[in-house]
Symmetry: C2
Subunit: 127 residues, 2 copies
DNA sequence: TTTAATAATAGGAACTGTTACTAATATTAA
DNA sequence: TTAATATTAGTAACAGTTCCTATTATTAAA
Protein backbone atom coordinates (compact mmCIF):
# COMPACT_ATOMS: atom_id res chain seq x y z
CA UNK A 1 0.00 0.00 0.00
CA UNK A 2 1.68 3.14 -1.19
CA UNK A 3 1.74 6.40 0.70
CA UNK A 4 -0.96 8.81 -0.35
CA UNK A 5 -1.29 12.56 -0.26
CA UNK A 6 -3.75 13.94 2.25
CA UNK A 7 -6.33 14.62 -0.44
CA UNK A 8 -5.96 11.14 -1.88
CA UNK A 9 -6.37 9.58 1.54
CA UNK A 10 -9.50 11.59 2.15
CA UNK A 11 -10.96 10.42 -1.17
CA UNK A 12 -10.08 6.84 -0.38
CA UNK A 13 -11.51 7.05 3.13
CA UNK A 14 -14.70 8.61 1.85
CA UNK A 15 -15.28 5.64 -0.43
CA UNK A 16 -14.34 3.12 2.27
CA UNK A 17 -16.84 4.56 4.71
CA UNK A 18 -19.93 4.40 2.57
CA UNK A 19 -21.94 1.67 0.93
CA UNK A 20 -23.32 3.46 -2.10
CA UNK A 21 -21.64 4.14 -5.42
CA UNK A 22 -21.00 7.85 -5.69
CA UNK A 23 -19.96 9.77 -8.79
CA UNK A 24 -16.76 11.83 -8.86
CA UNK A 25 -18.92 14.91 -8.42
CA UNK A 26 -20.50 13.52 -5.25
CA UNK A 27 -17.13 12.61 -3.79
CA UNK A 28 -15.91 16.09 -4.68
CA UNK A 29 -18.78 17.76 -2.80
CA UNK A 30 -18.13 15.55 0.24
CA UNK A 31 -14.37 16.06 0.35
CA UNK A 32 -14.88 19.78 0.03
CA UNK A 33 -16.09 19.92 3.61
CA UNK A 34 -12.60 19.00 4.80
CA UNK A 35 -10.65 20.45 1.87
CA UNK A 36 -12.57 23.54 0.77
CA UNK A 37 -10.10 24.27 -2.04
CA UNK A 38 -9.84 20.81 -3.51
CA UNK A 39 -10.47 20.79 -7.23
CA UNK A 40 -12.60 18.44 -9.26
CA UNK A 41 -9.53 17.56 -11.30
CA UNK A 42 -7.77 16.30 -8.20
CA UNK A 43 -10.73 14.09 -7.39
CA UNK A 44 -10.80 12.62 -10.88
CA UNK A 45 -7.04 12.12 -10.94
CA UNK A 46 -7.01 10.31 -7.62
CA UNK A 47 -10.06 8.21 -8.31
CA UNK A 48 -8.34 7.01 -11.49
CA UNK A 49 -5.10 6.38 -9.68
CA UNK A 50 -6.76 4.51 -6.82
CA UNK A 51 -8.68 2.28 -9.18
CA UNK A 52 -5.52 1.53 -11.16
CA UNK A 53 -3.89 0.52 -7.88
CA UNK A 54 -6.85 -1.73 -7.14
CA UNK A 55 -7.73 0.09 -3.94
CA UNK A 56 -11.13 1.09 -5.26
CA UNK A 57 -13.30 0.03 -8.15
CA UNK A 58 -14.62 2.08 -11.06
CA UNK A 59 -18.10 1.32 -12.35
CA UNK A 60 -18.97 2.45 -15.86
CA UNK A 61 -22.59 1.96 -16.72
CA UNK A 62 -23.11 3.78 -19.98
CA UNK A 63 -25.92 5.83 -18.42
CA UNK A 64 -24.63 8.92 -16.67
CA UNK A 65 -21.24 9.48 -15.10
CA UNK A 66 -18.94 6.78 -13.78
CA UNK A 67 -19.46 5.51 -10.24
CA UNK A 68 -16.88 4.45 -7.68
CA UNK A 69 -16.93 1.70 -5.10
CA UNK A 70 -14.70 1.20 -2.05
CA UNK A 71 -15.56 -2.49 -2.06
CA UNK A 72 -13.12 -4.25 -4.38
CA UNK A 73 -14.37 -7.76 -3.78
CA UNK A 74 -16.01 -9.04 -6.98
CA UNK A 75 -19.73 -8.40 -6.84
CA UNK A 76 -22.52 -7.53 -9.24
CA UNK A 77 -24.08 -4.14 -9.72
CA UNK A 78 -27.55 -3.07 -10.69
CA UNK A 79 -28.53 0.20 -12.34
CA UNK A 80 -32.08 1.48 -12.34
CA UNK A 81 -33.20 2.58 -15.79
CA UNK A 82 -35.40 5.30 -14.30
CA UNK A 83 -33.34 7.00 -11.60
CA UNK A 84 -29.95 5.63 -12.72
CA UNK A 85 -29.04 4.80 -9.15
CA UNK A 86 -26.52 1.97 -8.78
CA UNK A 87 -26.99 -0.76 -6.17
CA UNK A 88 -25.24 -3.95 -5.17
CA UNK A 89 -26.63 -7.36 -6.00
CA UNK A 90 -25.61 -9.55 -3.09
CA UNK A 91 -25.01 -13.00 -4.41
CA UNK A 92 -21.98 -15.23 -4.61
CA UNK A 93 -20.06 -14.16 -7.69
CA UNK A 94 -19.86 -16.74 -10.49
CA UNK A 95 -16.07 -17.19 -10.27
CA UNK A 96 -16.01 -19.79 -13.00
CA UNK A 97 -16.89 -17.30 -15.76
CA UNK A 98 -13.31 -16.30 -16.52
CA UNK A 99 -12.14 -19.89 -16.85
CA UNK A 100 -15.21 -20.68 -18.89
CA UNK A 101 -14.61 -17.74 -21.24
CA UNK A 102 -10.89 -18.51 -21.57
CA UNK A 103 -11.68 -21.89 -23.09
CA UNK A 104 -13.61 -20.23 -25.90
CA UNK A 105 -11.38 -17.24 -26.47
CA UNK A 106 -7.89 -17.08 -28.00
CA UNK A 107 -6.83 -13.97 -26.02
CA UNK A 108 -6.14 -13.49 -22.31
CA UNK A 109 -9.12 -13.03 -20.01
CA UNK A 110 -8.16 -10.98 -16.97
CA UNK A 111 -11.53 -10.23 -15.44
CA UNK A 112 -15.18 -9.50 -15.99
CA UNK A 113 -18.05 -7.36 -14.85
CA UNK A 114 -21.69 -8.29 -14.50
CA UNK A 115 -24.25 -5.54 -14.50
CA UNK A 116 -27.98 -5.87 -14.11
CA UNK A 117 -30.60 -3.33 -15.04
CA UNK A 118 -34.29 -2.82 -14.41
CA UNK A 119 -36.27 -0.92 -11.80
CA UNK A 120 -35.00 -0.25 -8.31
CA UNK A 121 -37.29 -0.77 -5.30
CA UNK A 122 -38.09 2.95 -5.14
CA UNK A 123 -38.97 3.39 -8.83
CA UNK A 124 -40.93 0.13 -8.76
CA UNK A 125 -43.55 1.89 -6.62
CA UNK A 126 -43.88 4.96 -8.81
CA UNK A 127 -44.03 2.73 -11.92
CA UNK B 1 -41.15 -4.10 -37.04
CA UNK B 2 -41.87 -0.44 -37.69
CA UNK B 3 -41.23 1.32 -40.97
CA UNK B 4 -37.90 3.11 -41.08
CA UNK B 5 -36.59 6.06 -43.00
CA UNK B 6 -34.06 5.30 -45.69
CA UNK B 7 -31.19 6.50 -43.54
CA UNK B 8 -32.35 4.43 -40.59
CA UNK B 9 -32.66 1.34 -42.74
CA UNK B 10 -29.17 1.85 -44.06
CA UNK B 11 -27.80 2.12 -40.54
CA UNK B 12 -29.65 -0.97 -39.46
CA UNK B 13 -28.50 -2.93 -42.53
CA UNK B 14 -24.93 -1.87 -41.99
CA UNK B 15 -24.97 -3.36 -38.50
CA UNK B 16 -26.75 -6.52 -39.62
CA UNK B 17 -24.18 -7.21 -42.30
CA UNK B 18 -21.08 -7.13 -40.16
CA UNK B 19 -19.76 -9.10 -37.25
CA UNK B 20 -17.69 -6.50 -35.45
CA UNK B 21 -18.85 -3.82 -33.03
CA UNK B 22 -18.46 -0.45 -34.70
CA UNK B 23 -18.70 2.95 -33.05
CA UNK B 24 -21.21 5.56 -34.21
CA UNK B 25 -18.35 7.30 -36.00
CA UNK B 26 -17.46 4.14 -37.92
CA UNK B 27 -21.06 3.57 -38.96
CA UNK B 28 -21.22 7.22 -40.01
CA UNK B 29 -18.19 6.87 -42.28
CA UNK B 30 -19.65 3.72 -43.84
CA UNK B 31 -23.14 5.10 -44.44
CA UNK B 32 -21.62 8.20 -45.99
CA UNK B 33 -20.71 6.20 -49.07
CA UNK B 34 -24.40 5.79 -49.86
CA UNK B 35 -25.68 8.97 -48.21
CA UNK B 36 -22.93 11.54 -48.66
CA UNK B 37 -24.89 14.20 -46.76
CA UNK B 38 -25.91 12.13 -43.77
CA UNK B 39 -25.02 13.83 -40.52
CA UNK B 40 -23.43 12.34 -37.45
CA UNK B 41 -26.43 13.45 -35.43
CA UNK B 42 -28.72 11.34 -37.60
CA UNK B 43 -26.52 8.32 -37.02
CA UNK B 44 -26.57 8.83 -33.26
CA UNK B 45 -30.31 9.47 -33.21
CA UNK B 46 -31.09 6.34 -35.16
CA UNK B 47 -28.66 4.12 -33.31
CA UNK B 48 -30.37 5.18 -30.08
CA UNK B 49 -33.81 4.65 -31.52
CA UNK B 50 -32.96 1.24 -32.96
CA UNK B 51 -31.51 0.05 -29.68
CA UNK B 52 -34.58 1.26 -27.80
CA UNK B 53 -36.68 -0.76 -30.24
CA UNK B 54 -34.50 -3.77 -29.56
CA UNK B 55 -33.42 -4.10 -33.19
CA UNK B 56 -29.78 -3.56 -32.33
CA UNK B 57 -27.75 -3.58 -29.16
CA UNK B 58 -25.70 -0.81 -27.60
CA UNK B 59 -22.46 -1.73 -25.87
CA UNK B 60 -21.04 0.73 -23.34
CA UNK B 61 -17.63 -0.26 -22.12
CA UNK B 62 -16.39 2.71 -20.15
CA UNK B 63 -13.29 2.88 -22.33
CA UNK B 64 -13.80 4.91 -25.46
CA UNK B 65 -17.04 5.50 -27.34
CA UNK B 66 -20.08 3.24 -27.30
CA UNK B 67 -20.19 0.30 -29.69
CA UNK B 68 -23.16 -1.15 -31.53
CA UNK B 69 -24.07 -4.70 -32.38
CA UNK B 70 -26.59 -6.01 -34.90
CA UNK B 71 -26.75 -9.30 -33.01
CA UNK B 72 -29.37 -8.93 -30.30
CA UNK B 73 -29.17 -12.47 -29.00
CA UNK B 74 -27.69 -12.37 -25.49
CA UNK B 75 -23.96 -12.92 -25.66
CA UNK B 76 -20.86 -11.77 -23.82
CA UNK B 77 -18.40 -9.16 -24.98
CA UNK B 78 -14.72 -8.75 -24.42
CA UNK B 79 -12.76 -5.50 -24.58
CA UNK B 80 -8.99 -5.41 -24.96
CA UNK B 81 -7.36 -3.09 -22.45
CA UNK B 82 -4.63 -2.22 -24.94
CA UNK B 83 -6.36 -1.61 -28.27
CA UNK B 84 -9.91 -1.24 -26.86
CA UNK B 85 -11.26 -3.45 -29.59
CA UNK B 86 -14.49 -5.27 -28.68
CA UNK B 87 -14.97 -8.94 -29.54
CA UNK B 88 -17.61 -11.60 -28.93
CA UNK B 89 -17.13 -14.36 -26.42
CA UNK B 90 -18.91 -17.34 -27.93
CA UNK B 91 -20.32 -19.35 -25.09
CA UNK B 92 -23.82 -20.29 -24.03
CA UNK B 93 -25.12 -17.35 -22.04
CA UNK B 94 -25.83 -18.03 -18.37
CA UNK B 95 -29.57 -17.46 -18.60
CA UNK B 96 -30.15 -18.22 -14.95
CA UNK B 97 -28.42 -15.04 -13.76
CA UNK B 98 -31.53 -12.87 -13.88
CA UNK B 99 -33.61 -15.32 -11.87
CA UNK B 100 -30.73 -15.79 -9.48
CA UNK B 101 -30.34 -12.04 -8.97
CA UNK B 102 -34.08 -11.49 -8.61
CA UNK B 103 -34.14 -13.72 -5.54
CA UNK B 104 -31.65 -11.49 -3.79
CA UNK B 105 -32.93 -8.13 -4.96
CA UNK B 106 -36.11 -6.29 -3.99
CA UNK B 107 -36.42 -4.42 -7.33
CA UNK B 108 -37.23 -5.69 -10.82
CA UNK B 109 -34.40 -7.28 -12.80
CA UNK B 110 -34.99 -6.86 -16.52
CA UNK B 111 -31.66 -7.91 -17.95
CA UNK B 112 -27.91 -8.04 -17.56
CA UNK B 113 -24.68 -7.62 -19.41
CA UNK B 114 -21.46 -9.55 -18.96
CA UNK B 115 -18.25 -7.98 -20.15
CA UNK B 116 -14.80 -9.47 -20.05
CA UNK B 117 -11.54 -7.62 -20.33
CA UNK B 118 -7.90 -8.54 -20.86
CA UNK B 119 -5.68 -8.82 -23.92
CA UNK B 120 -7.00 -9.66 -27.37
CA UNK B 121 -5.18 -12.21 -29.53
CA UNK B 122 -3.39 -9.46 -31.48
CA UNK B 123 -2.15 -7.51 -28.45
CA UNK B 124 -1.16 -10.75 -26.72
CA UNK B 125 1.66 -11.07 -29.25
CA UNK B 126 3.01 -7.56 -28.87
CA UNK B 127 2.78 -7.84 -25.08
C1' DT C 1 -52.98 14.80 -57.69
C1' DT C 2 -52.66 19.06 -54.73
C1' DT C 3 -52.69 19.83 -49.94
C1' DA C 4 -52.13 19.45 -45.15
C1' DA C 5 -50.06 17.04 -41.36
C1' DT C 6 -46.35 14.49 -39.70
C1' DA C 7 -41.76 12.57 -39.50
C1' DA C 8 -37.07 12.83 -40.29
C1' DT C 9 -33.20 15.22 -41.89
C1' DA C 10 -28.58 18.12 -42.21
C1' DG C 11 -25.77 21.02 -40.01
C1' DG C 12 -24.07 22.94 -36.28
C1' DA C 13 -24.31 24.69 -31.48
C1' DA C 14 -24.44 23.23 -26.88
C1' DC C 15 -23.78 20.08 -23.26
C1' DT C 16 -21.65 16.50 -20.01
C1' DG C 17 -18.14 14.07 -18.20
C1' DT C 18 -13.38 13.79 -18.13
C1' DT C 19 -8.50 14.74 -19.00
C1' DA C 20 -4.56 17.77 -19.74
C1' DC C 21 -1.91 21.80 -18.81
C1' DT C 22 0.60 25.07 -15.86
C1' DA C 23 2.26 27.68 -12.31
C1' DA C 24 2.30 27.28 -7.43
C1' DT C 25 2.59 24.55 -3.22
C1' DA C 26 3.66 20.61 -0.47
C1' DT C 27 6.52 16.70 0.63
C1' DT C 28 10.74 14.03 0.89
C1' DA C 29 15.57 13.04 0.73
C1' DA C 30 20.20 14.64 1.00
C1' DT D 1 18.08 24.56 3.96
C1' DT D 2 18.36 23.06 -0.03
C1' DA D 3 17.45 20.50 -4.04
C1' DA D 4 14.55 17.07 -6.25
C1' DT D 5 10.13 15.17 -6.59
C1' DA D 6 5.19 14.75 -6.12
C1' DT D 7 0.91 16.80 -5.92
C1' DT D 8 -2.09 20.41 -6.05
C1' DA D 9 -5.75 24.20 -7.58
C1' DG D 10 -7.62 26.27 -11.19
C1' DT D 11 -8.81 26.32 -15.66
C1' DA D 12 -8.69 25.29 -20.55
C1' DA D 13 -9.34 21.77 -23.77
C1' DC D 14 -11.22 17.60 -25.29
C1' DA D 15 -14.35 13.51 -26.73
C1' DG D 16 -18.55 11.76 -27.19
C1' DT D 17 -23.14 12.70 -27.47
C1' DT D 18 -27.45 15.24 -27.47
C1' DC D 19 -30.20 19.09 -28.71
C1' DC D 20 -31.95 22.76 -31.70
C1' DT D 21 -33.80 24.77 -35.94
C1' DA D 22 -34.92 25.52 -40.44
C1' DT D 23 -35.51 22.55 -44.33
C1' DT D 24 -36.77 18.39 -46.77
C1' DA D 25 -39.09 14.01 -47.20
C1' DT D 26 -42.98 11.07 -46.43
C1' DT D 27 -47.74 9.92 -45.59
C1' DA D 28 -52.69 10.57 -45.30
C1' DA D 29 -56.66 12.98 -46.58
C1' DA D 30 -59.63 15.20 -49.71
Amino acid sequence: MIKHSRQRDAIRDNLMNRCDHPTAETVYMDIKEDFPNISLGTVYRNLSLLSELGEIQKISTGAGPDRFDGNVKPHCHFQCRMCYNVLDIPFEYPEELNAHASKKFPGIIEGNTIQFFGLCPDCMQTH
